[in-house]
């Protein structure tokens, strides 16, 4: 459903008020909703802790509402409210909101809180209906916890023969983003002399951090059903909780491609992340990739994904000092996974998805980040390696 207040109605209301000139051309309300359930066969919590061996609805369930209004032919405002089941009481927040100025047919300037495109689907990451999986491959999409900036971007759209070129530079800051780190990072940091309480067993550790001087560029070339993209971003991060008081530099670069052609649906992406200084403890250098191949048969889209997360030549030894104590470099998270998925179109605007994913950790715990109770350990809990884990998920995505 797309609610639109008619031009006439708004204009009429405003003429009554005696100011017909400022008529807002139209206001639209749209939304998206995902309800999803997950279950794994391991007691070690996966990812941000919401996927466990009991059936849970917290990982994927969310609702978003978007409002946009054209102020005049050049200027529009758009904002999106997001509420997630994994946040308490679905506490809604403005995921993004900006004013957009169409300087010409090919140049649009936007300012405000912007969702920026680290990767292919980053700027519609929350809209499950718009992609084939229940959740985009974690081995790549986990790597940049920053998703939105306060700042500005420019969309340069350049027709290039049969293709369309998009060049999108962006700049801004990101503050108060709560981010998941492996608990051992906190533990190590605690040993380095920082007063930090270890999280409770089974809990997930989040730290607040700030990113400044975030500058990036996203470029893509699209023609009929095919699109390739490349992106780079660099930023200075601070994370007081893990002792990063002076900003450390973080860089991301990535390439990707997607195809929707003759019923073949495919996505592939590769990224590298490099983080200097003691921030490396919580966010070590990583690289990762995934490839998805699907084939649309009427309303069904069966698909398979292989994804891999690896060490990206992370330094060994110390990455800096806090209060004279050396802080070790982080331990890269390593895992790979195979996902079999099926998407089924429930008419237009709704899709049912089923997925089975097998995750294999390598040299550690991968993206399994929670502690589990272990009475044989003197601390009463342990960070055990879960080995191979199967995750089963079901979700319904709706846009309206």
């Amino acid at each position: 459903m797309n609610l639109r207040l008619s031009v006439a109605a708004v204009a009429a209301a405003l003429s009554v008020a005696g100011s017909a000139q400022a008529a807002i051309e139209n206001i639209s309300f749209n939304g998206f909703l995902t309800v999803g359930a997950t279950k794994s066969n391991s007691d070690v919590p996966y990812f941000n802790g919401n996927i466990t061996d009991s059936v849970g609805f917290e990982q994927d369930s969310r609702v978003g509402l978007q409002i946009s209004a054209d102020i005049n032919p050049q200027i529009s405002v758009t904002a999106q409210l997001l509420g997630r089941a994994r946040d308490q009481d679905y506490d809604a927040f403005f995921d993004w909101g900006f004013v957009s100025y169409a300087a010409s047919d090919s140049v649009t300037i936007r300012g405000g809180k912007l969702k920026f495109p680290t990767y292919l689907i980053s700027d519609y990451f929350e809209v499950g209906y718009a992609y084939p999986w229940i959740r985009p491959p974690q081995e790549v999409y986990y790597s940049n916890p920053l998703t939105a900036i306060s700042g500005a971007d420019v969309l340069f759209r350049v027709p290039a023969g049969n293709a369309d070129l998009l060049i999108q530079p962006y700049v801004g800051t990101s503050r108060g983003q709560e981010t998941l780190v492996p608990q051992w990072a906190l533990e190590v940091d605690n040993m380095a002399g920082n007063a930090f309480m270890l999280p409770d067993p089974g809990s997930i550790a989040f730290v607040d951090f700030e990113a400044e001087n975030l500058v990036g560029i996203n470029t893509s070339l699209t023609w009929s059903g095919f699109s390739v993209r490349a992106g780079y971003l660099t930023t200075d991060v601070k994370a007081q909780d893990i002792g990063v008081i002076n900003a450390d530099t973080a860089d991301f670069w990535s390439v990707g491609a997607t195809l929707d052609w003759n019923n073949i649906v495919s996505y592939a992406e590769y990224f590298e992340r490099e983080i200097d200084g003691i921030a490396n403890l919580g966010f070590p250098n990583q690289k990762g990739y995934y490839a998805t191949l699907g084939y649309r048969i009427g309303k069904f889209l069966p698909h398979i994904t292989y994804a891999n997360l690896d060490d990206n030549d992370n330094p060994l030894g110390s990455c800096g000092t806090v209060g004279g104590n050396p802080v070790p470099c982080g331990e890269p998270l390593e895992q790979d996974s195979i996902t079999l998925g099926l998407r089924y179109e429930l008419g237009t605007g709704a899709a049912l998805k089923l997925e089975a994913q097998q995750i294999s950790t390598k040299n550690g715990r991968g993206l399994f980040t929670g502690y589990v109770t272990d009475l044989t350990d003197p601390t009463g809990f342990s960070a055990k390696d879960p080995g191979d884990v199967n995750v089963f998920s079901i979700a319904v995505d709706v846009v309206f």
Binding site: R4, A130, V399
Partner: protein, 145 residues
């Protein structure tokens, strides 16, 4: 390869059904305001406008495309002809653009008559209607095969 008589019959029956389906297809006229300077438009430009990739008419001037609602047979045929996409794919395409704040889908009206009056009343508008509904209030740029 040996083709049995039965299979040949099935093939010709299928071909006949396809031809039959083709005959009942409506011819869709892409229409603009009579004052529009264009006299024709390419299928590629129609596709770009209705997928939000172009915001202007070829040659300039802001375009305001008008759509029929999702589930409408003429709309399905229009998108299939010009973009090769079915209704769900079109919805997916617009979901990506809309929910990343990069563009809103065309305004929708409920039938040919409303498309025609929207186009006749706005020099920037563009629409598509059944060829038989065309009159002097709009200008035809192209007719779909």
């Amino acid at each position: 390869m040996k083709i049995s008589i039965k299979n040949t019959f099935r093939l010709s029956l299928a071909a006949g059904l396809l031809i039959g389906a083709g005959l009942v297809h409506a011819e869709l006229a892409v229409v603009v305001h009579p004052s529009n300077a264009l006299t024709t438009i390419s299928a590629k430009d129609v596709s770009r406008i209705y997928l939000g990739k172009a915001r202007s008419f070829p040659g300039g001037g802001k375009v305001k495309p008008i759509n029929l609602p999702s589930g409408n047979a003429a709309r399905d045929e229009f998108y299939q002809t010009y973009t090769g996409m079915n209704d769900a794919q079109v919805k997916g395409h617009w979901s990506k653009l809309m929910f990343s704040g990069k563009g809103n889908p065309p305004d929708e009206v409920s039938n040919d008559a409303e498309v025609k009056s929207a186009v006749a009343g706005d020099s920037a508008a563009m629409g598509y209607i059944d060829k038989s509904a065309v009159d002097s209030s709009v200008k035809v740029l192209t007719v779909s095969p």
